[in-house]
């Protein structure tokens, strides 16, 4: 291999052999792409590559994580004290909220029982660490250190302490890829918490910005409104905070509002996320085969599911009973 000079093969490459090889390899690549894009038949190959890649990705991530951990442990005493004071006061506030929450939960359960609907609350969760690797600078995706061996599945929702982060797009044996709600290919069905108006929040590709392009001009949305997940589509548990409205532009020349929102979850800061399991059975047995919850892996599943008027009909949120009448046309009208 090292002595090219004694190599008997011709010095000039090319000719039919090179062109033929190009054709064969290009055809193979094209075949792979079609198979991967159309049918998702390549789970085994993907799993293989993901398993081979995991040690390298881990090796890159580990020093960065270790550095972060070290910086944490060398934090000054004053900082720790300040953090402690903050946490203690947070704890107090949260305890107060919890007291109210418990009575509300009781009440909610009674009301659910009256309506005979299932509560759809998060039943189980799994903490997954985010690996510090950059996948693609123009897509908002992260890799976590839990995979199918830990029970992770494609389409699973990921949340953090502040709100919804995203969903699993691909689960390998040891790692899983999460598409964040800010990815340009992601859409999450949301609801304005104040009015109950439903819409869809699209990712923009910039961390820290969501856009809501489908709200009509007469929609009641103001800056600071909390957007929570509506649970339509079945991927995300309903009622979890997603974003806060950051700007509302009412251009009379346009049929729709231009609304931008800031995600609440610490998408670019989180060291870990929670992968959640919840009972996503939709209450009424409506014919909604395309919106089968959870199962269809590709992230755009959230979009057709949410845009499907059939899926919008069974209303899982009793809280929406208080929705203003003006909110009625605000439902999914993309």
């Amino acid at each position: 291999m090292s002595s090219h000079e004694s190599d008997p093969r011709p010095l000039l490459l090319g000719g039919p052999a090179l062109g033929l090889r190009l054709l064969v390899l290009a055809a193979m690549a094209a075949g792979l792409m079609v198979a991967d894009h159309r049918d998702h038949h390549l789970a085994a190959i993907r799993d293989g590559i993901a398993t081979l890649a995991y040690p390298v990705q881990w090796a890159i991530s580990a020093p960065v994580q270790a550095f972060d951990a070290m910086r944490e442990s060398f934090a000054t005493k004053t900082r720790v004290e300040a953090a402690n004071v903050r946490l203690a006061s947070d704890n107090l506030v949260l305890r107060l909220k919890l007291m109210r929450y418990e009575s509300l939960e009781q009440e909610n359960r009674r009301l659910r029982a009256v309506r005979e609907s299932s509560p759809r609350v998060v039943q189980r969760s799994l903490v997954a660490e985010i690996l510090r690797v950059d996948l693609d600078p123009f897509r908002q995706r992260v890799l976590v250190n839990k995979g199918t061996r830990a029970g992770v599945f494609a389409g699973q929702a990921a949340i953090d302490a502040q709100g919804i982060c995203g969903q699993v797009t691909r689960a390998g044996p040891l790692s899983a890829e999460i598409i964040l709600i800010t990815d340009p290919e992601h859409a999450i069905p949301v609801q304005v918490n104040r009015t109950g108006a439903r819409s869809i929040a699209l990712g923009t590709g910039r961390s820290g910005l969501l856009s809501l392009p489908y709200l009509p001009q007469n929609a009641d949305v103001v800056v600071g409104d909390l957007l929570v997940s509506s649970g339509l589509g079945g991927v995300y548990p309903p009622g979890y905070p997603v974003a806060k409205v950051a700007s509302v532009v009412r251009d009379p020349g346009q049929p729709l509002l231009a609304v931008e929102a800031e995600p609440l979850a610490g998408l670019d800061r989180d060291p870990e996320v929670l992968l959640v399991w919840f009972d996503n059975a939709i209450v009424e047995p409506e014919p909604e085969t395309p919106a089968e919850p959870g199962l269809p892996a590709p992230p755009p599943a959230a979009v057709p599911a949410a845009a499907d008027p059939g899926a919008a009909a069974p209303d899982p949120q009793p809280a929406e009973a208080t929705a203003a009448p003006t909110a009625a046309p605000n439902g999914d009208t993309p």
């Binding site: 291999m1 090292s2 090219h4 190599d7 093969r9 000039l12 490459l13 090319g14 090179l18 062109g19 090889r21 190009l22 390899l25 290009a26 193979m28 690549a29 094209a30 075949g31 792979l32 792409m33 198979a35 991967d36 894009h37 390549l42 190959i45 993907r46 590559i49 993901a50 081979l52 890649a53 390298v56 990705q57 090796a59 890159i60 991530s61 960065v64 510090r132 690797v133 950059d134 996948l135 693609d136 600078p137 123009f138 897509r139 995706r141 890799l143 797009t169 691909r170 890829e177 340009p184 290919e185 590709g205 961390s207 670019d268």
Partner: protein
């Protein structure tokens, strides 16, 4: 890369490839991310220009597939684009090897641009085009790194 005697075992090929892949996913601060050079493409080009008999199109294909798996994109897209680029590089290699460094970098720029354009195309066909202009920044950045990469790789290759 002038007259370097290649002393490459498969071990070194694997080391270089894994390093290039690792550099592709190494965490960078967000504003710097678009400036990340395309190390895998540079490595493939280097092998194609320098020793296409050792590693040619098949290597480009495998490295591309590994990159697809690493970055979690559509399987086969980098395999296709890198194979095409490697083909052109193999065709041009005798001229390119005789070029002065600056002219060589210009050819590399064109080849990397071809690679990025094919990727852009495939993204569009697959239905998730990235129209952000910053995706093209990587091309001149990578081409500017070409002299450095050839220098480093040649030293690594010359080492016993």
């Amino acid at each position: 890369m002038h007259g370097t005697r290649i002393n490459f075992g498969w071990g070194r090929v694997v080391v270089l490839t894994v390093l290039a892949l690792a550099a592709t996913v190494l965490p960078l601060p967000e504003p710097l991310e678009p400036f990340r050079p395309n190390f895998v493409a540079l490595t493939v080009l280097w092998f194609c220009l320098l020793s296409p008999r050792l590693l040619g199109l098949s290597y480009a294909w495998i490295a591309g597939l590994a990159l697809d798996g690493f970055a979690g994109v559509l399987l086969g897209q980098h395999a296709l684009t890198l194979t095409v680029v490697a083909y052109v590089a193999c065709k041009l290699r005798l001229q390119v090897r005789a070029f002065p460094p600056l002219q060589q970098s210009a050819v590399i720029l064109a080849l990397l641009w071809l690679n990025e354009f094919l990727l852009f195309w495939i993204d569009g066909i697959a239905g998730h085009a990235i129209t952000d202009w910053r995706r093209w920044i990587t091309v001149p950045v990578s081409a500017a790194l070409w002299p450095l990469v050839t220098g480093l790789y040649a030293r690594y290759a010359a080492r016993r």
